[in-house]
């Protein structure tokens, strides 16, 4: 039985929900993937969407992400300071955001809607106020937005 557990574990379960990828947490702002101009949602040539976010004490940057429904979505997050958490209520999106590492989560939203996105790993005194929102909108409305609109959501 032990052998079966180990074998199936290695074959099917032994992988992080995220890739293991390192980055320099103190130089995020200078250049590269997580420079400010790259944050938010980007549409890929294959039709999928990539959302790049920075989790920092005590906010997500940007603090709201718009993503198209019924589309493969890839979240890529990192932290310049402490450990944070990334969780979308009601979905299987859940990962830690560790400084020095890039967390990656793949998902797909079936229908338009709003998801709250609280930091769920203790990151200091402001932790309980650190949350953001992911707004899923209909796929056909999405490409019409400008890049500025994609990194911010309408106030609600």
């Amino acid at each position: 039985m032990m052998i079966v557990i180990v074998a199936t574990g290695i074959a099917h379960a032994l992988h992080p929900p995220s890739n293991v990828e390192t980055t320099d947490p103190v130089r995020l702002h200078l250049r590269g993937e997580f420079a400010e101009s790259n944050l938010g949602t980007a549409l890929e040539p294959d039709g999928s969407a990539t959302v790049r976010l920075i989790a920092q004490q005590y906010s997500f940057v940007p603090n709201c992400a718009l993503v198209p429904a019924d589309t493969p979505v890839k979240f890529r997050l990192t932290s310049p300071d402490t450990i944070h958490g990334f969780l979308l209520g009601g979905t299987n999106v859940n990962t830690m955001v560790v400084p020095g590492f890039v967390s990656e989560v793949h998902t797909r939203f079936a229908a338009p809607g709003d998801y709250r996105m609280p930091c769920h790993e203790f990151c200091g005194f402001g932790h309980q106020g650190m949350w953001a929102r992911v707004t899923v909108m209909a796929h056909d409305q999405f490409p019409k937005l400008t890049s500025l609109e994609r990194t911010s959501c309408a106030p609600q």
Partner: protein, 270 residues
């Protein structure tokens, strides 16, 4: 045997002496995060309270209880006073001093990092040193459990060690392994940063080391209960354990499984 009683009871008194206020803190935290009114509504005190509650429940209560339980089992199951009484009291003192240091640091509001430390967050060095003394001091107990079992074996050749003592020694070894992760994290990563020798913390490496402790420690908490179920409960029920050999195998398996078990925290997290 009387002096062993005092040793064991002192450990249990400390365990429950910290347990009671930690329960109160837990209830207060619940009120703080609920719509109900909480006395002393101070958000900064909340994380200090969570840290103290976690440190006490995860380490202080469990370590002192397991140590006291171990000494009691050594004295009763082997039917003789605990060997190394002076060393045991020294270990008790080191653990208690460490606990008080850590508790004072948390109560002063300078160590609100929760009991898993969350590096690269940093707390007062007194918290980490106190924590190190508590966990490090318990290694004296680990050595004493092994010494007590081995000396009994040498003096009673051909007889098998009573199951309770066998299981307590397995617990001690399990704890030595589990604690090695957090001790290495403290010495290798946290102390240099807390004392100002380094300015950056490798959060990934710190988590990797802590993962060794992270899950094994849960088994350490449970072991006294399992030992009671395998040895005290059958006796109290007026029977005996169905199979002594399977009982021993259980505790060996526990020890083996505890070695890699923390790894899944690294698989689920980046």
């Amino acid at each position: 045997v009387h002096r062993s009683d005092r040793l064991a009871l002192s450990h249990l008194w400390v365990a429950f002496g910290f347990f009671v206020p930690a329960v109160v803190l837990g209830a207060w935290q619940m009120l703080m995060r609920s719509p109900l009114p909480a006395p002393l509504d101070d958000p900064d005190a909340y994380y200090a309270s969570v840290t103290l509650h976690g440190t006490v429940m995860a380490y202080v209560v469990t370590t002192f209880f397991a140590m006291g339980f171990g000494y009691a089992v050594a004295a009763t199951s082997l039917g003789r006073p605990v060997r190394g009484l002076i060393a045991a009291w020294i270990g008790f003192a080191i653990c208690l001093i460490g606990t008080l240091m850590a508790a004072a640091a948390v109560l002063s509001g300078r160590a609100s990092v929760l009991y898993t430390f969350y590096p690269p967050l940093l707390a007062s060095r007194w918290y980490y040193v106190g924590f190190f003394l508590l966990v490090g001091g318990s290694m004296i107990w680990v050595v004493l459990m092994i010494v007590n079992m081995m000396s009994w074996k040498n003096e009673n050749p051909g007889q098998s060690v009573p199951l309770a003592m066998f299981a307590v020694t397995a617990t001690a070894l399990l704890w030595a392994w589990s604690a090695s992760g957090v001790l290495l994290e403290l010495v290798g990563i946290i102390f240099p940063a807390a004392f100002g020798a380094t300015t950056q913390i490798d959060a990934g490496l710190a988590r990797t080391l802590f993962s060794v402790t992270l899950h094994g420690i849960v088994y350490f908490w449970l072991m006294p209960a399992y030992i009671a179920f395998y040895t005290l409960v059958p006796q109290a029920a007026g029977g005996r354990l169905y199979s002594d050999t399977i009982g021993r195998l259980t505790f060996i398996m526990f020890l083996v499984v505890s070695v890699p078990v923390g790894m899944h925290h690294l698989l689920v997290d980046p």
